[in-house]
Structure formats: structure tokens, C-alpha cells
């Protein structure tokens, strides 16, 4: 008896399955020809580079404070970090000793050119906004810089470390006004023995983002 029941039930099940299968054959199967979607990254104008000039004063050890000028470029890596490169020039007059003694000058004129370059890492320590009016706020950054470079001065090239602090105010998205104080530190032996000199640069400038 049991066997017969089983057979009967199995028979019905088989018949239903077969019917299901034929019903499925009739159903319209969606053709698997889906167009492949490619993720296209849109071309967005990036403005991570900053280039401009600066002018200021540099106080050169053993000499007077002299005007300094140059170009300054930066690559912004993130909202916090940037790389910066500077190229600048100044020219010194006589040392105090040369002026007072009235003797023959110690250096040739060409050796009195003070040319430098440096590469820095900058960190936007205090990003902020300053408010001019009810609806107008400008982006600003107070940043710290540290780097290395070289200074051509008194007939030789000196390995130079630079440290500085600066302030950048963005007038709009792409024009910035900058204010910088930097110390250029290098050891020189132009006067006979090794001495460490600190040459502080105060400068201001305009840079453009592109």
C-alpha cells in the first residue's frame, strides 16, 4: 500500500515538474545582452598648483638688510599638505668692516649676489576664513614650512635649511595673497672659520592657482 501511495505521489510530482519545465520554456527569457557600463571618470579641471612671485627684505648675516625677490611655486597634495619650491635673489653691499676700514673690498661684485633655491614641505596648520562683510568670507591658511636648498653666496654654494611660517589669503578661488617669514640657515667659512648664519626673509607676494 505504502509503495503504491509513494508511486502515485511521485508520479504527480514528476508530472507537475514536467509541466513546470514546459511552462518555463514558453516564458520569454531576457536576452543576456546587457551593454557593459563603463565607469567614465569625468574630466574635471583640477587646480592643485600655485605659482607666483614675491618681494621683500632679507637680513643677511654680516651685511645689511637687502631687497629680495623671486618666484614661488607649490603643489597642493591635500587640504593639509603641500610641496613648495622657491627661487630668489638679492644683492649685498659692503660689510660693516669694509665700510669702516676703507680698505680694499674683500669680495668681488659678482660674489655679492645672493641667489638661493629651496624645496619645502608645507603644512596648513590653521585653515580658516576671514569675514569681510555679512555675506563675504575669504579662505585663509596659516602654514608652517620646513625644507632644504642651496645658497650661492660669496663665491660658493652653501647647503641651506629653511624654516618659516606664512599666511595665505584667497581673494577668490584662484588668486592668493601671501605673507611669509622664513629663516635661511647655513654654515659658511667665507671669513676663515665655520660659522652658522641666520638670514631672515620677510616677503609678500601674489600667487595664482591653476
Amino acid at each position: 500500500m505504502e509503495n503504491r501511495h509513494k508511486r502515485f505521489l511521485l508520479g504527480i510530482a514528476a508530472a507537475l515538474l514536467a509541466a513546470g519545465a514546459t511552462a518555463q520554456d514558453v516564458v520569454q527569457v531576457i536576452e543576456p545582452e546587457v551593454e557593459r557600463r563603463e565607469i567614465i571618470t569625468p574630466d574635471i579641471d583640477t587646480e592643485n598648483f600655485e605659482l607666483g612671485f614675491f618681494v621683500g627684505m632679507i637680513s643677511i648675516d654680516d651685511f645689511a638688510s637687502e631687497p629680495v625677490y623671486g618666484v614661488r611655486g607649490a603643489w597642493h597634495l591635500s587640504e593639509n599638505w603641500f610641496f613648495e619650491a622657491n627661487l630668489g635673489a638679492a644683492e649685498v653691499d659692503l660689510t660693516s668692516y669694509e665700510k669702516i676700514s676703507g680698505g680694499a673690498p674683500l669680495f668681488k661684485d659678482s660674489e655679492r649676489d645672493y641667489n638661493f633655491y629651496n624645496l619645502n614641505v608645507g603644512w596648513n596648520l590653521l585653515p580658516g576664513e576671514i569675514y569681510f562683510s555679512e555675506n563675504r568670507a575669504f579662505k585663509s591658511d596659516l602654514y608652517l614650512l620646513g625644507g632644504v636648498g642651496a645658497t650661492d653666496f660669496l663665491g660658493d654654494t652653501w647647503f641651506t635649511a629653511t624654516f618659516g611660517i606664512g599666511y595665505r589669503l584667497l581673494v577668490n578661488d584662484w588668486i592668493a595673497w601671501r605673507l611669509d617669514v622664513r629663516d635661511h640657515i647655513f654654515d659658511r667659512d667665507s671669513f676663515g672659520e665655520d660659522e652658522t648664519t641666520h638670514n631672515v626673509e620677510w616677503s609678500t607676494g601674489v600667487t595664482f592657482f591653476f
Binding site: R37, E38, I39, I40, T41, P42, D43, I44, D45, T46, E47, N48, F49, V71, G73, W75, H76, L77, S78, E79, W81, F83, A85, L87, N115, F116, Y117, L119, V121, P127, G128, E129, A137, K139, V148, G149, A150, T151, D152, L154, G155, D156, T157, W158, F159, D173, D189, S190, F209, F210
Partner: protein, 248 residues
Amino acid sequence: MGPALSFLLILGAMSAALPAWAGGEEAANSRVVEAYIEMRTHPGRNYPVFYVAERGETIELLKRRTDWIKVRNHRDIEGWVHVNDIGRTVDASGSPLGLHSPDRESFANRGWEFGFMLGSLDKTDAISAYAGYQFTPNLALEADYTENYGDFSDGRMLSASVVHQMFPQSRYSPFFTLGGGARQTNPRSTLVDTDDRTDGVASVGAGLRIYLTGRLLLRLQYKHYVVMTDRDDDEEAGEWKIGISAFY
């Protein structure tokens, strides 16, 4: 004109990164599909959110600065949105834009690498700037400009090298390098005058790149140089360096 020359070299290296910047004339649009995205007054996470674009809104992507994208909506409201949020918006065909801030995966798939290094070349202070292009996951070509400042002479060196990394996917990625170039030596002016001289150099070295964050990586390396002088013996010099670099 050492400084001027090196500055130009660096600018040259930087401008090599510009092809990625060229183009982008057409305004790109995207549609918000998340519940909302936040628009800030300036590019930075500390700036206030002043507007929230809702689901379904279409925004125009104007420009990108670091990890922030300036957008404009249909009411002409402009603000800055983080690139990861923009990455979750969709274009006209409904696919996500696939933009994101640089991460370790971008480090593994980097193309260009720029950096500067500081260290000691044969017991003198040395600094260098370099640019490299990763043309397979394992191999890169690099150009390097080094200046060193000793008590008796200054030197400048321009070299090219092939760099091989074994584990491109790793956060700590060791590499070997093999290269050659030219070196100019200028004796100090305080010494009895001797002429500047230029010699060929060959180098072999090893090092480690360590991915830090964003686009930044730290680089440590040792190179051994053979300077092929026209005297009886070649000079050998060892160089240790540490540097910070960014990739693109």
C-alpha cells in the same frame, strides 16, 4: 647658476604632471542618489556646511582642488563637496562617477612620483629632487638631480635609473635601483684653485617606499656610486637618503 638650473629642473618635473590637468572643457553633471550631500563654503573639512543638495538634484562639477570639488546646482548655489561624496553620485546613464580621494590602491597604481630627499653622500650634506614614472607595476624609470656640499668641494650629479619593486601592492615596498649619470665637482673657492671636473658615475642601490597617507610616501634609500675619474683609481662613494614624495 646652480640654483636656477635646479629650480628649472624641478619645474620641469612638476609640469610633467600636467597632462592630467589638461582638458576638462565640458561641464560634467551628476545626480545625487544618496539621501543628501553636503556643500561647504570652502575646500576643507573644517568649513561650514551651508547647503544640502537632496536626492534627485543635478549638480554641475566645476573644478577640483585636492580632495574637494566645486559644484553648482540648478539654483546657482556654489559650494565644495568632498570627492568621496561626489564618487557616490551618478552620471546621465546612472553609473557612479568613480571618483575618490587617493588611497593605498592609488599608491599601488601610481604613475608619476615626485619627491625630494636629504642625506649624506660620502659624509657630506646632500639634497636631491627626483621624478619617476612607473611604467609597469614593478618597474619605474627615474631621473634624479643631486647637489652635495662638502668642506673641500661641492658636487652636482644628474642621473637616470631603473627601479624595480618586488611587492607593488605592499604598504612597505622595497626596491632595487641601477643607474648611471654624470657628476660635476667644484672645489671650494677658499682652496687653492683647482679646476672643476666632470666624471661619469654608475650606481647601484636599494631602498624602501612607505605609503603614508593621501598622496604622500616616505622614501629611504642607500646608493653606492662609482665615479669614473680620469685618474688612476675610480672613486667610490656611499649615499644614505631619506625623502618625502608624492605620487600622481
